[in-house]
């Protein structure tokens, strides 16, 4: 029996987190939800996920700091998808320079997210 792939989802919009959790669980992934960057780092260190989904703007620690921590401190090569809102183009460029693999601009389709997750985990 193959083990479920783990995904850490860092998003401060609780409704969106729940929706994505439900959708990704249906696809057979194990989802860990963080409501801010601080929790995201704790979950990443604890569960060593196969993929990270993170919003850019979050309380306490931003998505950019999460990416920086994962790439520079934990030295993990796990794929990272960043969520960004309109007007955060500069932030997205910073996220890529820090080591993000992909980004999705809000509003986005959960179905499209699933396609990108599958592609990165295949």
């Amino acid at each position: 029996m193959s083990e479920k792939k783990k995904i850490v989802l860092a998003e401060d919009n609780s409704t969106l987190s729940l929706l994505l959790k439900f959708r990704l669980q249906k696809e057979g992934y194990d989802i860990f939800i963080a409501k801010d960057g601080k929790q995201a780092i704790e979950l990443i260190e604890e569960h060593n996920p196969e993929l990270i989904l993170t919003d850019i703007m979050m309380p306490y620690i931003s998505g950019l700091e999460v990416i920086s921590h994962v790439r520079n401190k934990l030295e993990m090569k796990v794929p990272i998808i960043v969520f960004s809102a309109a007007g955060q183009e500069e932030m997205v460029l910073k996220a890529f320079s820090l080591g993000a693999n992909d980004f999705m601009g809000k509003p986005f389709s959960p179905n499209e997210l699933v396609i990108r997750v599958k592609r990165l985990l295949s």
Partner: protein, 367 residues
């Protein structure tokens, strides 16, 4: 008992002014005590409401997501979803519950697109939440009206157009602002029709918001902006100038040239900037011949325009303005001269005694 009588006698013997101070102090003490109790009750109520809100938010989040994934993948509503809608209809008759549900839906609809977003919109209609939003438009309080318009914008209710168009001239700024956002979010350029006879001023922030919304949409039919460029409302003209630049409205060039004679200085300066963006040569001759009659701001804007379109024919005009008292114009004149006639620029240093010019020439040569 004896002590009490002694105190009473002592109090009665006090001078009137001291007695008055005691009375006032007592009243203040009672007032502060009452205020403390009131604040304590208020704080407890707020905490209780917050707890209740969090509790209902969690319930509605879960319910809404179950509803969204209970669909059968076709256009209609599944029996499971219908049960949920019926339950919700009862729940939302309570204002508190309704507000929590709307906030949950809004949070999601802002971040999600595609089928799920459509399903949320459908849910908004099916539960009758739309009727509550429409009812808010008739409310007396401006904040309720504004909230109603905001909800109708979030859930893309185009049917409310006639009702909301009437509110575009509402005396309260927030209601007007929400009405503008509704019209532009849902009808893009067609929604800008309200500019035709707008009497209120559009603030800079309003203009930025409207432009930002318009730029979210691709392949839109751009309305003729000439009427707005000719508006008596200065803010509408300024906004139209922004539209002319962002959407390259070169067709409106004739009207833009007329705006060079507008009685408002800011409009004239902005017009020169837009014409400069279009690399327009017709405006060049007009501005050159009227250069001494226009303000310094316009002169600077004109030189910025010349930076893009100046040629050999402008050389005399440029050389004359190298000795302009304004430093910015002087700098631009020298830069333009270098671009259109480098040998002339190189010999200029010897011909001029102006220290500023010499320094600028050195700077331009080295950069």
């Amino acid at each position: 008992m004896n002590d009490y009588q002694n105190i009473l006698e002592y109090f009665n013997q006090l001078p009137v002014l001291v007695k008055l101070v005691w009375y006032v102090s007592f009243l203040l003490f009672i007032f502060i005590l009452g205020l403390i109790f009131y604040l304590k009750i208020l704080r407890n109520n707020l905490r209780e409401n917050e707890k209740k809100r969090i509790k209902y938010q969690k319930i509605y989040e879960e319910n809404l997501i179950n509803y969204l994934y209970a669909g059968d993948g076709i256009e209609g509503i599944s029996p499971e979803q219908r049960v949920f809608i019926n339950n919700m209809k009862k729940d939302i008759s309570n204002t508190f519950n309704r507000n929590v549900l709307i906030s949950v839906m809004t949070k999601l609809v802002n971040d999600i697109s595609g089928e799920i977003a459509q399903a949320i919109h459908k849910f908004y209609f099916e539960t009758g939440l739309i009727d509550y939003s429409l009812l808010k438009l008739k409310a007396r309080k401006w904040e309720i009206k504004a909230a109603g318009i905001h909800e109708l914008t979030q859930f893309e209710v185009k049917q409310a157009y006639n009702e909301i168009e009437k509110l575009i001239k509402h005396p309260h700024k927030e209601v007007r602002n929400q009405a503008q956002l509704y019209l532009v979010n849902l009808f893009q350029f067609k929604g800008l029709k309200f500019l035709n006879d707008l009497t209120y001023q559009l603030s800079e922030w309003d203009q930025i918001q409207l432009l930002e919304i318009l730029q979210k949409f691709d392949n839109q039919e751009i309305t003729d902006i000439t009427l707005w460029l000719k508006s008596n409302n200065l803010s509408v003209v300024k906004f139209a100038l922004k539209l002319a630049k962002v959407y390259n409205q070169f067709e409106s060039k004739e009207t833009l040239l007329e705006l060079l004679k507008h009685n408002n200085k800011e409009i004239r300066v902005e017009t020169i900037k837009v014409l400069g963006y279009f690399y327009d040569t017709d405006s060049k001759e007009y501005l050159k011949s009227n250069f001494h009659d226009i303000t310094e701001g316009e002169q600077i804007a004109f030189f910025k325009l010349l930076e893009n379109i100046a040629d050999q024919t402008d050389q005399h005009f440029i050389i004359v303005n190298i000795s302009h008292p304004n430093f910015e114009i002087k700098l631009m004149a020298l830069k333009i001269l270098k671009n259109i006639n480098q040998p002339k620029f190189n010999t200029l240093k010897l011909a001029e005694n102006d220290i500023d010019v010499e320094r600028i020439v050195e700077f331009i040569k080295n950069n």
